[in-house]
Structures are given as structure tokens and as C-alpha cells.
């Protein structure tokens, strides 16, 4: 195990790991670093340490990263899952929700934020950037207008890395897209024959595509154009199935199906997974993969042990880039385990669908409050 006694040490160790990019390090290195981080977080976060002690899984007893106790995403709503002292929490990422009490909070300081940015860029660059990438259309608010949305901050980081390319943030602080300006941007890319990458949440795509349909607009974006679609609807638009949404992107924007990728992430994590890579065929079933510094386990809801390949369960992520919070997070997402990735199946909701038991409002919001914000 790597002994990490300060946040600086921990961040440095993870940065070194991330700097190796897609090169897959030996499992033993991941394990060592995970255990080192676990030891660090255990000593720095009392709420988490209490959980570990109650389960008798502490740095003294845990020898494999798979045994590190997971924090449920829901706990980010009522506890400060952080190693940072209050004065050192300069940035907070929150999940979507209507009130503070039902939104997760993930605290960062400049050091942990650097790790976050290194992590997101490395894997984004690996999947969403190829030689064809031209202009960037973000169906998001400007990062300055949504400082607590990790997704907007991620887009801001991407825009900075790709600063030479023309880009446009199309939404206002309330996530409303300036639809005409968006069409103009895309139209211009088309006439200039410059490919464009459109990035947005599923609901923003629906807003844009519905508008295009109503206005009878169809664009044929130049070859090399691409789309990145991410998480959820949150009741912000009508819900459409993924195949339907992707079909509409193909039809209305002229983007090839193999160049429409999905991203999976959330404010409680610092790394993201993608279900394909630009420049590849990306055939179905599309499987999500995290970078080498984050591992996804599909665990049985009954035992919380990893399921066999082909089986379904809850998705649990061990993300080394979560240096300042908790590296092991239990999500509310259901997934099917594959040998080399996972397939998303939906959410582990309260049993509302089976009849007449009420989903109360507060609760419904709390449990569906996960939004890659």
C-alpha cells in the first residue's frame, strides 16, 4: 500500500497515475493506490470512518480495493463526504434538485479540482476528440453561469483545452437553449464545411430537436461531426428512448450513428465513462468504460458482492480521482456486467410501478436527484 498522509501527496500520486493515460497499469498498482487513498480518507473524514468502523472494514483489515466500503450517492446529500476542512472548500459541485437538502454536494479545493480536470480531460480526449473535431457546440450554460454544475465545469475545461476551436455555449443559467443562435451556429459550420461536435444532456437535445422539427429545419453537418449525449431528463423535457433520440440526432443534424456517444458521470464522481470512441465502429451493445484510474463493479443488491458477468446489479465505482471525497461510491443505477464494460439498465427506483403505493414528492426528488451536474 502507498502511504499517503497529506492531500498534496494523495493528489500527486493520482496525477501521476492519470498522466499515464490509457496505458493500463498493472492491477497491483491500482490496488496499492486505492488502499493508500482509503487510508488517507479514513483518517480525514469522520463520517466515512464511522461507516467503515461499523462494518469492521478499516485500513487495518482491508487488503483489496474491492473491499473498500462504498458511500451511497444519497449520503452526499446529508453528509459532507470530504477530507477538506470547511475553510478549504472553495468549490462545490451539486447535483440537480429543487432544494439544497435534496442535492448532493461534492467539495473541491484547487488541488482536487486539478485532479478532476486532469481526469476528465484525459478520458474525454481519448474518446471524443479525433482529427475531425472542428467547432464545439455546448448545449450548456457558460461555466461562469453554472459554477456548481460539475458537468458545466467539465465542458468549460474541455473548451479551454480545445481553445483553438470555435465554440459556443448555447444555454442560459436556467439551461434554456438559445435555439435560433444554436441553429445559426450549426448552419454556419455547415456552410463553411467545418465539422461540429454537439454536446448536451438528453433533455437539451430534445429541446433542440423538437424546435428543429417544429421549424422544419434539417441540417447535414459536415463529415466528422459528432455528438456527446449525457444523463437524464429530470422532467425538463418529454422523455424519449435512447434509440429514438439518437435517430432524431441522425435525421435532424446529419451526424453518423457511430459518432453519437454517451457519457456517464455524476457530481459525486471525478471520472466519467463513455460508451464508444470517435473513429471506431462502436457496434451494439455499446458498453461503458471508465478510465484505468476508475473501476466499475456491478454488485448484487442482496449481498453487495460483485455479480458474475452477464448479471445485473447496482453500479459501484471506485474512482481514484475522488481524492478529496470518497473513492468508492455506490450509485442508484442498475447495470449489467460485461467482461470489458457495463451496460446501463436504468435506475433502482422505489417500487412505485407495482401498484398503488405513493411516491411522495420529496422522496421522489431525492431518489431521482442524480444528475451529472
Amino acid at each position: 500500500m502507498t502511504s499517503l498522509s497529506t492531500l498534496t501527496d494523495a493528489c500527486e500520486a493520482v496525477m501521476t497515475f492519470i498522466s499515464r493515460g490509457n496505458e493500463s497499469p498493472p492491477a497491483v498498482e491500482f490496488n496499492q493506490l486505492a488502499l493508500g487513498l482509503f487510508g488517507f480518507q479514513f483518517t480525514q473524514n469522520e463520517a466515512y470512518a464511522n461507516l467503515c468502523q461499523s462494518e469492521k472494514r478499516t485500513p487495518d483489515t482491508v487488503t483489496r480495493w474491492e473491499e473498500i466500503p462504498a458511500v451511497p450517492t444519497r449520503a452526499f446529500k446529508s453528509f459532507d463526504i470530504t477530507v477538506l476542512p470547511e475553510a478549504d472548500r472553495q468549490t462545490v459541485f451539486r447535483s440537480s434538485g429543487t432544494t439544497h437538502s435534496n442535492r448532493s454536494r461534492h467539495h473541491h479545493n484547487p488541488a482536487t479540482l486539478s485532479v478532476y480536470k486532469a481526469s476528465l480531460w484525459s478520458w474525454f480526449n481519448e474518446h471524443m476528440v479525433d482529427e475531425a473535431v472542428g467547432r464545439l457546440l455546448f448545449l450548456f450554460p457558460k461555466p461562469s453561469e453554472a459554477p456548481e454544475s460539475s458537468l458545466c465545469q467539465m465542458m468549460g475545461a474541455v473548451a479551454k483545452h480545445l481553445a483553438k476551436r470555435e465554440h459556443f455555449f448555447a444555454a442560459d443559467a436556467l439551461w434554456r437553449i438559445d435555439r435560433q443562435a444554436t441553429i445559426d451556429f450549426l448552419h454556419d459550420a455547415t456552410t463553411q464545411n467545418e465539422p461540429a461536435t454537439v454536446l448536451g444532456t438528453a433533455f437539451s437535445f430534445v429541446h433542440l430537436l423538437d424546435f428543429m422539427e417544429a421549424e422544419n429545419v434539417e441540417l447535414r453537418l459536415p463529415a466528422g461531426s459528432a455528438a456527446m449525449e449525457t444523463g437524464g431528463y429530470k422532467g425538463r423535457s418529454r422523455e424519449v428512448t435512447k434509440p429514438e433520440l439518437h435517430r432524431a440526432i441522425v435525421e435532424r443534424l446529419g451526424i453518423l450513428p457511430e459518432r453519437i456517444l454517451c457519457e456517464y458521470g455524476m457530481c459525486e464522481l471525478s471520472s466519467q465513462a463513455y460508451d464508444g470512441k470517435l473513429g471506431q465502429a462502436n457496434p451494439a451493445p455499446r458498453l461503458f468504460r471508465f478510465p484505468p484510474w476508475a473501476r466499475a463493479c456491478v454488485v448484487s443488491p442482496e449481498t453487495l458482492d460483485e455479480v458474475a458477468p452477464g448479471q445485473a446489479g447496482l453500479l459501484e465505482i471506485t474512482d481514484l480521482a475522488n481524492v478529496g471525497s470518497a473513492l468508492c461510491v455506490l450509485t442508484e443505477d442498475l447495470a449489467k456486467r460485461h467482461e470489458d464494460g457495463f451496460e446501463l439498465l436504468g435506475r433502482a427506483k422505489l417500487a412505485e410501478s407495482r401498484g398503488c403505493s405513493l411516491m411522495n414528492l420529496n422522496h421522489a426528488r431525492a431518489i431521482t436527484g442524480l444528475f451529472p451536474g
Binding site: L314, L334, H363
Partner: protein, 452 residues
């Protein structure tokens, strides 16, 4: 070997392709059959046949009961033991006395289904059931479907029962029992299954029916109501939640273990799938029986019951909801912030969470129950204010006098059903679902004012 063939209803025919024409024809046949038999027979005949059907279902050797219990829990929604207990609770209510009691309660005089009645010469009145009722059956419990069919027969109505795909087995088996005890009764009954939202089939069915009864999520019920023409009789049962309440002197009246047993009974019955099952049990905090002790004992009792009446397996989705909620309470429990968790080991079989926060909370069900402290009933009603419209049942552990006193308050506040703890999932046959008359919403009255 079965004495009867199980090929009678549309839902019996595997792979049958349903069309709007087929629905129309089925409805017309139902109406004709109703005219030829159902409207001709008396209350005594119908009730005796229903009681006969119930007694068959209560017999452990009855073939169709055995088939139901042997069925894959995926199909019925319940493991054998849970289903058996639920069926027994339902059919033991089906007595001649209870059926006549129901008719008396609803119509003043059971004969009003057949004549203008004779109770008073000044108020002669007769009731008429719909010619054809379309039932949209709930996907969770079979009991309301059995009951709806029985009520429809009492009203001499032809009935078309639409089940969710893959959920028709129990209604079908019950339909075959009716066919066995009296083919005439079954001839006015059709059972079919398809995925809800099929506008072609449903449009036709709703057009044919005089009355539509729908049970399901608020969304489903609302969608159906929205599609019906103005003036079509509609009875909808949407989302409701229920809770338990332990009065501070209850343990002196009935003993602590009795209260625990009754609470466990309500949690285990139908694995909490019905809207009469408790999500939360409130325990008055200033009595001898403290909420924490209550929760601990309830956990022990649920553990014991999982041996005799196991919950069965859940879908990943349902188990996932429990696992997540548990994990959240585990971290709260470990941090001593007003919550304690008791849980079965290496499974989601049962869970008890004692939480100081008094807010009503939805349980992920399937034997997951919250125990919360409460000062008194007034505080409870205050807390439940946001859910006032959505409460079904409050199951109370208290003396008879307290039960009545609480019922007065709760009733005035808006609760449609108050019962002793332990009986939450065992409403009497004549209970008024969501506070509505059991039969009264379905029928039409004809008043006769005589010359004299």
C-alpha cells in the same frame, strides 16, 4: 388431473392476437350472455355461488389454488407462502352473511337489486348495475380483482377484465372457478391481457363499457380518465399510502409482543405491495414502549417470520432500491445522527429503520419499514398534512376506547380507513375503498313515487 379445461377466456389463449373487432365481439357476447342468465337469477343464487368459489379456494387441496401457489413468483408477484396467506385472508371474508351485509349496507335492502324494495312505501327505489363494466386491473395484488369480479356479479353486470401483460394468471384461475361452480356466471365474464396504453384495444373496450373501473398508478388512472367521453361512469383508484400508529398505553392493554406481532403481520402481508400496507409505524414516544425498543423487537420478529413465511426474490430494481436506502441509513446509523438500522444479513429480506426525523417517508417496500417517534395524534396529523389526500389506512394499536377516539379525529381530518394494527391488509368485504361506497359508485338508482 384437472377436471376442467383451462381454455375459456381470451387470456387463456397463448399468443392470441387481439384486435378491436375481437374486443367488440367479446363485449357483445358478454351482454347477450348477461341478458340470458345473469339478470334472471336472484341474489341468493349468486351469493351462494360466490361462497362456493371462495370455499374451494380456501381448501388446500383445490387444484386451481395449488396451481396458483405453484406458479413462478415472477408471474404472481409473490412467493407461495405470502400468496397463500393473502388468499386465505381474502376468501375467508366471502361468507353469505358478509355478502348480504354488503348489499344491505349499500342499498338499504338487498331486494332492491331485483324489485323496488319494500322497506318503506314512501321511498321505493331500485338499483341497476351497469350492463358492462370494464376493469383495468392493478398489477400488484390479485385480491382487488377477485373482489371487483364478485361485486360486478352481484350487480348483474357483464364484465371485461383487462390485466397487465403477464399478470392475468390469478384472475384467470379465479374465473375458471366461477366457470366450474356456475358456467352462467363465467359466461358474462371475459379476461384478457395486454400492455396498458394500447389505444386501439382500450378505445374499443371503453366505448363498449357503461362503466370503467381502473386501479393503478395515478398516471395510469389519470390517463384512462382523460380518454373517456364525458358522462362515462368512471371509478379510479390511484396512489395511496398507509401507516401504523402505536398509542403509548397500548402495551398495557395488549402486551408488547402482541403489538409487535401485529405490526409484523402488516409488514409481511403481501410483502407491503398493497396500498393498505404500512410504510411507517409511528410509536408514541412518551410511553413505556420506546420507538427504538419497538423497532428492535420488530426486527427480531421479521427475522423470525422470514423463516416461516419467506419474502421471496425481488427484481434487481426493487432490491436495488432497498440496498441503496439501507446503505444510506447505514452511514447515518454509524454516525449516530438519529437513525438506527436493523437488517437481514446477506439479503434484502427485511429491514427496519428507526429514525428520529418524524416526516412521513415512503418505504421501498418488500418488508422495509420505518419506525418513527411521535408525540401524539395531533402531531401526526400535522406531519401528514402534505399527504392528506393520499392516506388510505391508519392501523392503530390502542385500547378500543382510544381507537374510537382516534378514528373520530382521523376521520374528520380525512383518513378513509382506521383499523386495529395487524388488520391493515385484511379489510372486511364491505369496506369502502378510499372512502367510496363499495357498490354505490357503480350503480344507478331508479326512484318510484307511487300515487298513494
Amino acid at each position: 388431473m384437472l377436471e376442467q379445461s383451462l381454455d375459456y377466456f381470451l387470456a387463456d389463449k397463448q399468443g392470441a392476437v387481439l384486435s378491436d373487432t375481437l374486443i367488440t365481439e367479446a363485449c357483445q357476447t358478454l351482454r347477450t350472455n348477461r341478458e340470458e342468465y345473469l339478470v334472471q337469477i336472484g341474489n341468493e343464487t349468486i351469493i351462494s355461488k360466490l361462497v362456493e368459489a371462495a370455499s374451494l379456494w380456501l381448501s388446500p387441496d383445490y387444484e386451481l389454488r395449488k396451481m396458483a401457489l405453484a406458479a413462478d413468483p415472477e408471474t404472481t408477484g409473490f412467493p407461495r407462502e405470502v400468496l397463500a396467506a393473502g388468499l386465505d385472508a381474502c376468501f375467508s371474508e366471502w361468507t353469505q352473511e358478509n355478502f348480504f351485509g354488503l348489499l344491505g349496507q349499500e342499498f338499504g335492502d338487498a331486494t332492491r337489486l331485483q324489485s323496488f324494495g319494500s322497506l318503506s312505501s314512501h321511498s321505493l327505489a331500485m338499483v341497476h348495475g351497469p350492463q358492462l363494466i370494464a376493469h383495468v386491473a392493478p398489477g400488484n395484488l390479485p385480491v382487488p380483482v377477485f373482489q371487483s369480479i364478485a361485486f360486478g356479479l352481484l350487480l348483474r353486470s357483464a364484465q371485461f377484465v383487462k390485466c397487465a401483460s403477464g399478470k392475468s394468471l390469478l384472475p384467470r384461475l379465479f374465473g375458471h372457478t366461477l366457470h366450474y361452480v356456475d358456467p352462467g356466471l363465467a359466461s358474462a365474464l371475459e379476461i384478457a391481457e395486454w400492455d396498458g396504453g394500447n389505444e386501439t384495444l382500450e378505445g374499443e373496450l371503453y366505448k363498449e363499457a357503461d362503466c370503467v373501473v381502473a386501479t393503478g398508478s395515478d398516471k395510469t388512472v389519470g390517463a384512462i380518465r382523460g380518454r373517456l367521453p364525458l358522462g362515462k361512469r368512471f371509478v379510479g383508484y390511484g396512489h395511496r399510502v398507509s401507516l401504523g400508529y402505536v398509542e403509548q398505553l397500548a402495551n398495557e392493554v395488549m402486551g408488547t409482543q402482541t403489538i409487535i406481532n401485529r405490526a409484523a403481520h402488516d409488514v409481511v402481508a403481501w410483502n407491503q405491495q398493497g396500498c393498505l400496507s404500512p410504510h411507517v409505524i409511528y410509536v408514541e414516544e412518551f410511553g413505556n414502549l420506546k420507538p427504538e425498543r419497538f423497532a428492535e423487537m420488530l426486527a427480531e420478529e421479521l427475522a423470525a417470520r422470514s423463516e416461516t413465511i419467506p419474502r421471496g426474490e425481488l427484481s434487481t430494481k426493487e432490491a436495488g432500491a432497498i440496498a441503496n436506502m439501507r446503505r444510506f441509513y447505514k452511514i447515518r446509523s454509524a454516525n449516530n445522527v438519529g437513525a438506527i438500522l436493523w437488517e437481514s444479513e446477506d439479503s434484502t429480506e427485511w429491514t427496519v429503520v428507526q429514525e428520529d426525523e418524524k416526516q412521513f417517508q415512503n418505504s421501498p417496500l418488500n418488508r422495509f419499514v420505518f419506525v418513527k417517534p411521535i408525540e401524539h395524534l395531533d402531531e401526526l396529523m400535522h406531519i401528514l398534512e402534505p399527504y392528506r389526500e393520499s392516506i388510505s389506512t391508519v392501523g392503530i394499536a390502542a385500547s378500543e376506547a382510544k381507537l374510537r377516539e382516534f378514528a373520530l379525529k382521523l376521520g374528520a381530518w380525512g383518513v378513509p380507513r382506521v383499523c386495529p394494527l395487524g388488520k391493515m391488509q385484511r379489510p372486511p368485504l364491505a369496506w369502502r375503498h378510499d372512502g367510496r361506497p363499495a357498490l354505490g359508485d357503480l350503480i344507478r338508482w331508479t326512484d318510484l313515487e307511487t300515487i298513494q
